[in-house]
Symmetry: C2
Subunit: 256 residues, 2 copies
Amino acid sequence: MKRSRPLKRKPKRPEPKREEPEAVDLRSIDDDPVVQGILTAISQKRLKPGAKLGEDKLASAFGTTRIHIRQALAHLASRKVVMQIPNRGAFVYRPSWEEAQDIFAARRIIEAATVSAAIDRLDKSGKAELKAHMELEARHDRNDRWASLSLTAEFHILVAKLAGNRVLLEMSRELMLRTSLAIATFEQPGEPDCSPDAHPDIGALILARDKAGAIHAMRHHIEEMEQRIRPHEGEDEVDELTAIFQEIGARARADG
Amino acid sequence: MKRSRPLKRKPKRPEPKREEPEAVDLRSIDDDPVVQGILTAISQKRLKPGAKLGEDKLASAFGTTRIHIRQALAHLASRKVVMQIPNRGAFVYRPSWEEAQDIFAARRIIEAATVSAAIDRLDKSGKAELKAHMELEARHDRNDRWASLSLTAEFHILVAKLAGNRVLLEMSRELMLRTSLAIATFEQPGEPDCSPDAHPDIGALILARDKAGAIHAMRHHIEEMEQRIRPHEGEDEVDELTAIFQEIGARARADG
DNA sequence: AATGTCTATATTGTAAACAGTATGGCGGTT
DNA sequence: AACCGCCATACTGTTTACAATATAGACATT
């Protein structure tokens, strides 16, 4: 509907009213506790792919309203961490087998680049951070599964931080999460995402500024992860059906 | 509030009710006309960085409701295409100078990889697509600025498609958009994002399967783009202030 | 003259009620 | 006994109205 403005003021506006914001706090929705909660729950594998995320339940769980939850779920759906199905609700995203492979391939590319850039930019404080993290990983309590999962992911994030490129850092974070989902979908549960023994080697190579060696080690490390997943074989009949339906859906959308 | 369910049914549920969706149409919000409209408007530089995106105005412009607009804006904010400021509204995202540089650096990495993968996977239909696009670009109407902008962006998207990795394709799309914003922010308006003359060379090198040459040409092409932007100098006083405030905000958040 | 305060207005954010859609159990039919 | 349609229920999606906040102009003050 058109606004019924009183028209009392002068309608002319020679300069079109500088509407551009100069400096404000732009706290992102990423800082939202609901988003963070779901994210950590997923990266710690407490939420499995395909799990339903009911709006009412989440609202009461987090002690907030449904609107807030909807916003958080929409954001997570934009980032492909949850899947929203019309009139059915939100579910933890379950990547396809092809998508899982693509995620690993993307990580090989991006993390090779972050390792390279991290070595180029490595300075005193960077070395200290890296050493501190390696020590943390070496002496952490291996019985605390959730802490382990967080720590091993943090190593890759730290390397991305050292690379000094925020865009690559965002992408690494995103790929890390989607890797968690890929592994959780296609591997027996309970094991960590990374074989943690590889991290000290990679870290040492970075500290030694051995670029070729560090890149090779990182690539190998990611390939090791990838080899721990297998396509679902027991659900072939079902998967065939889903393939058919998705094919039909895609075709209908392309034709229409 | 807690749901006041009648409790007439048996509360026990031995099997936790298979809630996982098997096969459904999952049309993404990316297909939404509002999202697409804003996206193309930005990539065609009809919407400039910093422009205000009022909810009511967009709602009446698209002939839909404010809620719909809000969802679309939230999605675009998740993808860093718009910036949402609490109680102020949504604005077309304006990257910082550092972010602009990071975007170009990320593109160098990712597009070098897509070029490489595209050459590896290049088959008959891929060659045909590439040739068709190059012909389109060669004989298009150079006076139609908006068509030119779309076409030159499509070249990079096509290469990413040929690489056969959906995750990298998504990332390329995202980086493409953010490149548009970066160039629009730091360059005088009106010029295309790419110097279009470079595309035929890159395409020819891909068709010739000259991997090293194609990667080099792509890197060079992106560097050329990057060299066309300059940090804002006339707004140094303002930028200094914003830098200070952002510094303070970040510090306060880190300390708190 | 520049700054500070106040008020009206416009715009965003939130809550609650309503409508639409899928789910699951029940009964009827072959 | 298995299958099919029907109906109650639970959940998501949407509308509506209201509350909170920022903006812009006018006015008072130093």
